[in-house]
């Protein structure tokens, strides 16, 4: 079975500072990896995904993530954050082989941007 661990439940950052949200996964098979963002009182929105190819993936709103197979990690980064990035961020993994593509989610990281 797959699992996802988001290492920080809360991350406070000052505006315009860089940020990294950490995600580790475990799986015995090839995986697809995702980051989603949830703004207050909304559903989840896809930030970026890794399916294959380049291990550095660029997403919306200036975010990027790097797939590291040896460390089973998929950390999310942004070089300079804005107040509008305040949200909850979820890392997720799915089996790259099995049908239906069930996603397993981490517990979430609440990113708070302070002025």
């Amino acid at each position: 079975a797959q699992s996802v661990t988001q290492l920080d439940s809360q991350v406070p950052v000052f505006e315009e500072a860089p940020v990294e949200l950490r995600c580790n996964y475990s799986s015995s098979v090839s995986v697809y990896l995702f980051w989603y963002v949830q703004y207050p009182n909304q559903g989840l929105q896809l930030l970026l995904k890794y399916l294959s190819g380049s291990t550095l993936v660029k997403g919306i709103n200036g975010f990027e993530a790097e797939f590291n197979k040896s460390q089973t990690s998929f950390h999310l980064r942004k070089p300079s954050v804005h107040i509008s990035d305040t949200a909850e961020y979820f890392c997720a993994v799915s089996d790259a082989v099995q049908g239906a593509q069930k996603l397993v989610f981490g517990q979430g990281t609440r990113l708070t941007i302070n002025p």
């Binding site: 988001q6 989603y36 909304q42 896809l46 979820f90 239906a100 989610f105």
Partner: protein, 110 residues
């Protein structure tokens, strides 16, 4: 863009009531999912469906059932609502990799 619509944003129901949460997607996706979201626990899969009239249990199916009579609609049913089912419920659909989510239904059982 794919749109996933959940019929209610907020619901308040009484203990013991039968509750229906409706979800509709407009892009002919094969797969649909119901998750519940609770603070500190992330999203947990309740049920999913990969075709009409097909359903599979997720990680926490107890106390829930589902119905998928048409491809675009996936309903979550709480047979007899209990206070521990107070939560945010999220519906999603997918064709291949990655989901499109609805806005969620915040259910309170009193």
């Amino acid at each position: 863009d794919v749109k996933v619509t959940q019929s209610s944003r907020y619901l308040v129901k009484r203990t013991g009531e039968k509750v229906f949460l409706e979800c509709v997607q407009d892009m002919d996706h094969e797969n649909m999912f119901w998750y519940r979201q609770d603070p500190g626990l992330g999203l947990r899969l309740i049920y999913f469906s990969y075709d009409v009239k097909m359903k599979e249990k997720g990680d926490i199916p107890e106390g829930y059932s589902v119905s998928r009579e048409k491809k675009e609609r996936f309903s979550l049913i709480l047979e007899s609502a209990s206070t521990n089912q107070t939560s945010m419920y999220l519906c999603a659909s997918s064709l291949f990799a990655g989901y499109t989510f609805g806005s969620g239904t915040r259910l309170t059982v009193v």
